[in-house]
């Protein structure tokens, strides 16, 4: 998941284009992360030393690690570390960017350090982020006031989107004053000492994608089955949230989920844009469900 975040960071800082980002996110799936990229990431080698080893590899049929040890750039222990790190996902993005010629290893490394600085991350926090910890990503995403209220929910939601819907997920808190109105709205209210209004809004195309992924079958129109599928995804997430909260000593209940077409939601809402490989949808949350109103087909429903 860090690849999506850092990829968008690179895009927002105009270090790569939208097309390049889409290309590398697709390409990274097939990428095998090379030792040189990890060696620089771990500060074991400089980019120029990596280049030197790559040049040598053109001459002799030896592994990167073997040559680097011969040249005195890496120790045996460091090679062991690199082997264990080779599967870290954030590096797939680096490798993909380098392979496609969009960035050099040095530029990637600089951008990564800049990201760390801009987000005031400690070494430990940064390591956690890079290893793909969703908790760390959500912690980094929400403003202080919202961390304690929504942190656990957003973390679980992100994990469930990855598990059931799409593994290329990027979350973004929307600062827009007015919530973007989508055609479809699925909502469910959690009741108890920590009440929560939860909703997913999506346009028809994305709604059908979510429905199809969750139902594990191709759904081509928003019929009862498609509506049930997206509703059940929210219901399932909320059910697990209630279990988690119960394990932490907070007993909550929830109302049945409901679905509306062309409805307008208003109230004290936090809106999180969920970008996936097939399009974006919104997660709406509020810890004041009583103040949320949903206006649907001319009639106003207070949740």
């Amino acid at each position: 998941m860090f690849s999506q975040y850092f990829g968008h960071y690179l895009l927002n800082h105009e270090l790569i284009t939208r097309e390049q980002l889409a290309d590398v996110l697709e390409y990274q799936k097939s990428v095998h992360v090379k030792f040189g990229v990890i060696a620089v990431d771990e500060d074991f080698m400089t980019p120029s030393q990596v280049e030197e080893v790559h040049e040598k590899q053109k001459q002799v049929d030896k592994r990167f690690g073997e040559i680097a040890i011969e040249l005195g750039y890496l120790s045996d222990d460091q090679v062991e570390v690199l082997i264990s790190k080779q599967k870290q996902k954030h590096l797939f993005l680096a490798q993909a960017l380098v392979d496609r010629g969009y960035m050099t290893i040095e530029q990637f490394s600089q951008a990564l350090n800049q990201y760390k600085k801009e987000n005031s991350l400690s070494d430990d926090q940064f390591e956690e982020l890079k290893s793909g910890s969703i908790e760390a990503l959500v912690e980094n995403l929400l403003v202080d006031d919202h961390k304690s209220i929504y942190g656990k929910y957003v973390t679980l939601f992100a994990k469930n989107v990855i598990r059931f819907i799409d593994d290329q997920v990027h979350l973004e808190v929307s600062n827009a004053e007015v919530v973007q109105q989508d055609k479809w709205l699925v909502h469910q209210e959690i009741l108890g000492e920590s009440p929560l209004f939860t909703a997913i809004t999506a346009n028809e195309e994305v709604f059908l994608h979510i429905a199809s992924k969750h139902a594990e079958e191709e759904l081509t129109e928003v019929d009862e089955l498609a509506k049930a599928s997206v509703s059940e995804f929210l219901n399932l997430t909320n059910g697990i949230y209630l279990v988690n909260m119960s394990n932490w000593g907070v007993e909550l209940n929830m109302k049945p989920q409901a679905i509306s077409e062309n409805a307008k939601v208003s109230g004290e809402l936090t809106c999180i844009k969920v970008h996936t490989s097939f399009g974006s949808f919104q997660l709406l949350l509020s810890n004041q469900p009583n103040n949320i109103s949903i206006v649907s087909s001319g009639s106003e429903l207070l949740v």
Binding site: L225, A228, G239, M245, M254, P256
Partner: protein, 128 residues
């Protein structure tokens, strides 16, 4: 695993009913009945007295716990398995107190269904 079980699925989600029906058919259940809420489930139990009931908890009109209470009053031997995404301590206690036969956490796996069917068949009250 052909069997003579008559199973009622009670869930407000058409998707869950469809998926559960497919699973129960795969395991060879003889008859599968459906109800979209607790009220309908109680009526089906009165009319057909199924061997096993898979009951959602959070549903509109009449929730699963209320339906469980009514069904156990009507048929004290009814085997009602609560199937829900909400497995909180409070709900589990309430389900057990009201005589639930078992609990399955959603999303419902084939294994979970198979285990329940095996347990019901083992108890021998139903012809295999």
């Amino acid at each position: 695993m052909e069997n003579n079980l008559r199973v009622l699925i009670c869930d407000d989600s058409i998707l869950i009913r469809k998926k559960l029906r497919e699973t129960l058919e795969m395991f060879g259940c003889k008859e599968i009945l459906e109800a979209e809420n607790g009220n309908v489930a109680v009526e089906v139990v009165k009319a057909s007295n199924p061997d096993l009931i898979l009951m959602d908890i959070v549903m509109p009109d009449k929730d699963g716990i209320e339906a469980l209470k009514e069904i156990k009053e009507l048929q004290p031997n009814a085997k009602v398995v609560m199937a829900s995404s909400v497995g909180t301590n409070d709900l589990l206690k309430s389900a057990i107190k009201n005589g639930a036969y078992d609990f399955i956490q959603k999303p419902i796996s084939h294994d979970a269904v198979q285990n329940i069917l095996t347990k019901v068949l083992k108890e021998g009250s139903v012809n295999v």
